[in-house]
């Protein structure tokens, strides 16, 4: 057994590898507080932007800001910046699968057609024009 001495390292710097980075890395308190302040600023920003009418861009801006916050939490509070790369891979693969889930589902639900009773024809709700697909 090697000696396991707690070791002070500057946050963001390479953790000592001899004793396993995830176990030994010790962040600076001021750094954690700075991350928290950044998260608060992002929250205020997203609330402020929500009252500005940007149309479809509102959703994009909200998702981008939320993802910035999520990145801060994952990298620094959850220590993926200094922790195991393999753990990071598990997270990234999960998020890719969420992307597949969204893409295939919305590609389906966004193209479904409704039956126009008056014309007895399938029409796309988006365009109002005759559209293929759906059950007979």
């Amino acid at each position: 057994m090697s000696q396991l001495e707690p070791r002070e390292t500057v946050a963001g710097a390479e953790a000592p590898s001899t004793h396993g980075g995830a176990l030994r890395h010790l962040g600076d308190v001021r750094f954690y507080v700075a991350v928290f302040v950044a998260l608060l600023c992002c929250t205020l920003l997203t609330v402020a932007v929500s009252s500005v009418h940007l149309g479809a861009l509102n959703l994009v801006v909200a998702i981008v800001i939320a993802s910035m916050k999520a990145t801060l939490v994952v990298l620094f509070f959850m220590h993926l910046a200094t922790g195991s790369r393999f753990n990071a891979m598990i997270l990234i693969v999960s998020l890719m699968m969420v992307g597949v889930f969204f893409a295939y589902t919305l590609n389906d639900t966004g193209r479904r057609t409704e039956v126009d009773v008056d014309q007895s024809a399938k029409v796309s709700p988006a365009t109002g024009l005759p559209a293929p697909g759906g059950a007979d």
Binding site: P6, A22, S50, H53, A62, F86, S94
Partner: protein, 232 residues
């Protein structure tokens, strides 16, 4: 069978691990696999949200205004702060500072309870004004601790389809609140183990893993807040 090498094994180190690092890395890997599962679990709800919002964007925008932005923002700040204290609790445990770990875990649990109190008042308002899921939408209901309002009172006029928005609102925030309640449970369990002196600078993996779970609960809320409360 106390050989020279086994007598120097730390008590926290399980037989099937060679070193403390290996044990900590294995535990953390297991936790990340669980967190990956949690993300995929919540993805089902987020995809349902995406489908219904893409079908009825105007209904979602109108219904979103019935939610309290100040309450949602307050809860966001409370959860972010609890994530900070959870991260600092892990840091304190890493240093073997037991009393500091105890204090930081207590603050984290207090924040979790504060989150639920705010959520209670939000749900109460929804029940009293009939902002309810699906077929129950528009009919005010009783809820512990307050008077029922008349239909339309305090609640804005909303399209009939808004029930779909509130179905998603209650399921998503409800499942999230369930995670908060489970979080309070596991944080309390870790607090008790810490008070019993089971953690040290050499062994603090359970504190680390429970904090990881708590950060995930925070992550889900980071997306729920703008998607439910801040639509246009």
């Amino acid at each position: 069978m106390a050989t020279d090498s086994s007598s120097r094994r730390p008590t926290f180190l399980a037989d099937h691990f060679d070193t403390a690092e290996q044990q900590a890395d294995a535990a953390k890997l297991g936790m990340w696999v669980f967190l990956g599962q949690e993300i995929l679990f919540f993805a089902g709800l987020f995809v349902a949200y995406g489908v219904f919002r893409s079908w009825h964007p105007d209904v979602f925008s109108a219904a979103s205004h019935a939610l309290s932005k100040p309450m949602g923002t307050a809860n966001t700040v409370v959860l972010l702060f609890s994530s900070l204290t959870a991260a600092l609790a892990v840091r304190a445990a890493q240093r073997g500072a037991r009393h500091q770990t105890t204090a930081l875990l207590l603050v984290t649990i207090a924040c979790a309870l504060a989150f639920l109190v705010v959520k209670y008042f939000e749900y109460q308002h929804k029940f009293h004004t009939g902002l309810l899921p699906g077929q129950w939408f528009g009919v005010p209901r009783t809820f512990p601790g307050g008077a029922v309002m008349q239909r339309g009172e305090a609640a804005p006029a909303l399209p009939a389809g808004a029930g779909a928005f509130f179905s998603l609102y209650f399921v998503m925030t409800g499942v999230h609140a369930l995670h908060i309640i489970v979080g309070i449970g596991v944080l309390t369990w870790i607090l008790i183990r810490n008070l019993r002196g089971q953690f040290s600078a050499e062994f603090f993996t359970p504190v680390d893993n429970v904090a990881l779970y708590w950060h995930l609960v925070d992550l889900v809320w980071i997306y729920l807040f703008p998607l439910l409360y801040l639509i246009d």
